[in-house]
Symmetry: C2
Subunit: 161 residues, 2 copies
């Protein structure tokens, strides 16, 4: 899990050239790492990681997904996602069942316990998102969302299919 929550303040030094703006890639990375740190902290009592929570919430919204589909929407290999799903299964948060129509597929579904975890932690996760966009107006939030969705599409990923 994570702690990291380092108190950004303290010492000085290290240049401050500001001149050229940071790249978007860098800022996105910083935000992602900060979110990971905060999410792991929130989810610690649940015994799951940020990555696992994210997978759970995708499965909640999109019924009938397989591990391979989940892997595509996350730009990771099928093997990586299989590991993650196995961990969730071992924690009794999801189940796999063979698809009768296409016997290669193992369809995923949440267990009652998986659903309880989501219900319990969603409020705090939503608060974190609210904190993140707290300094933006409603219009700016809309622009941000549209911008991010456009980036996602341009990078050739999208919602689970």
């Amino acid at each position: 899990m994570t702690h990291a929550r380092t108190a950004r303040s303290t010492s000085a030094q290290g240049s401050a050239d500001e001149s050229e703006p940071p790249t978007l890639l860098y800022v996105i990375k910083q935000i992602d790492l900060a979110l990971r740190s905060r999410l792991d902290e929130i989810l610690r009592p649940a015994g799951i990681t940020a990555t696992q929570y994210t997978a759970l919430s995708v499965l909640e919204r999109h019924v009938g997904l397989t591990s391979a589909q989940l892997a595509r929407t996350s730009s990771v290999t099928a093997q990586s996602m299989a590991d993650l799903v196995t961990a969730l299964q071992d924690a009794a948060l999801v189940k796999r069942h063979r698809d009768a129509a296409d016997r290669r597929r193992l369809v995923l579904s949440l267990t009652a316990k998986g659903r309880r975890v989501l219900v319990k932690y969603r409020p705090k996760v939503d608060e974190l998102e609210a904190e993140m966009v707290g300094a933006l107006s409603d219009r700016q939030r809309g622009e941000l969302r549209r911008g991010l969705l456009s980036c996602r599409t341009s990078l050739d990923v999208g919602p689970p299919v």
Copy 2:
């Protein structure tokens, strides 16, 4: 390193409820993973990872940083960042030197080799960013940048200090 570049297309099934919009946290995670996959692919010939390239580029812009400062701007622990820096040092991309003024600090600097790697790969990395925002107008790109910078600040991270 990564491959992942899975051809999002193929099979169907898995719901398509679209109804409720995805959370920003989720979309940012998707973008981050897609970028990581693409960056690792770009950087493979250099023998460095996306994370390592990012650290290098931060060190280029901000002279006189220590590993601890770098850790704060990345929301990771000092130990994690020390590992990363050691890898960069072993690859002869950065050097550490004791700060005479404050003998606890080990200031980082790029080697000539580190600089060469940045010069060589920056064009392709910039292309990736351009591809990501390719569907947005100039105005929308500005809004996106401002939105992301605001998120970063609200999450209590910022440019290296």
